[in-house]
Assembly symmetry: C2
């Protein structure tokens, strides 16, 4: 997605430890017109699939998923990190290791909101080692729903998460795949 790549080149900041900061437009401050274009692009890519629900994980995926869901006319469900007293009843549970925060989260989703007849599109802002996405895929499998694929805004192609999942036959569509990045340059996959 050209608009997104240009924005990453303009406003993204590479930090030590393979961190790409895009907090001025994607995951701290959010540029809503850009995210609308991202939502439309996910609809263009997945428009031929019978999506009934968009699944994401808190926190930074939620806004993108909600904006995108307007183009699919489906509800959003977001998996929650750690136990909440408001989340009773039966849950799908999995564990996710965060690349950014260097820790392991319990991730939960109420069984009420994902069923065997659902067709699920997973949306998230980042894909690096793929731990969060694998956790969400595990939840979809547990529910018996059909996973139509994942829509990722930015994939770090030099980490192996996306390619590993594609090799397993999972449809992973990323709007910008970064194959290398240094302080001086950032290369997108063609």
């Amino acid at each position: 997605m050209q608009l997104l790549k240009e924005r990453i080149l303009k406003d993204g900041i590479v930090k030590p430890g393979n961190v790409l900061k895009v907090d001025s437009f994607l995951n701290h401050q959010m540029d809503i017109p850009l995210i609308n274009e991202i939502g439309k692009e996910f609809k263009r890519i997945y428009g031929d699939t019978p999506i009934t629900k968009i699944l994401t994980i808190e926190a930074s995926g939620i806004g993108i998923a909600c904006i995108a869901a307007q183009y699919f006319n489906v509800p959003v469900v977001f998996a929650k990190k750690a136990q909440s007293i408001n989340l009773d009843g039966e849950m799908y549970c999995t564990k996710v290791e965060s690349f950014t925060h260097k820790k392991v989260y319990d991730v939960i989703l109420s069984k009420k909101f994902l069923h065997a007849d659902d067709h699920v599109l997973i949306i998230d802002d980042f894909l690096a080692n793929g731990c969060a996405l694998m956790g969400l895929i595990e939840i979809v499998k547990s529910s018996g729903a059909t996973l139509e694929g994942a829509g990722i805004v930015i994939e770090k192609g030099f980490q192996r998460g996306g390619d590993t999942l594609r090799e397993q036959g999972i449809r992973v569509e990323s709007l910008a795949i970064i194959d290398s990045m240094t302080d001086e340059s950032l290369t997108f996959r063609e």
Copy 2:
């Protein structure tokens, strides 16, 4: 907001400890057309104010803030709970006690995204004792920005957060204010 009140009566579930579960449409599964109506209502209420930025707090405020921001044509910034290695530079920091989770969070916002010339609308899903909202207000004050007010989806009027803030002269507009709730009945403020 009549549509919202009807939805709370239809799908809200009162749990012990003054907990109102609205997770089927607001903060776990999200009904996007309803949230669009909520966004339009915030715009109707605050349409006469020169909002430049919508501020919320992760996680469940983000989707509502993003949808609402479409009607204001402004960016969203969301305050983050706990420190992240990706959040460097100067921060506004405050502490917030969560009614739901019974613990105290550090809440942070990058100083890059809130300035003295901003006019801020705070949006959140719930207002009960007001701790989260007071934390966000403190951040706005620290930035020197103008606080235009808060837009809350559901206020628990029988807790004192909203009324305390109104007595301090802060504009707090809640789309549904619950004055009492039991297993059998739920009463909205007129």
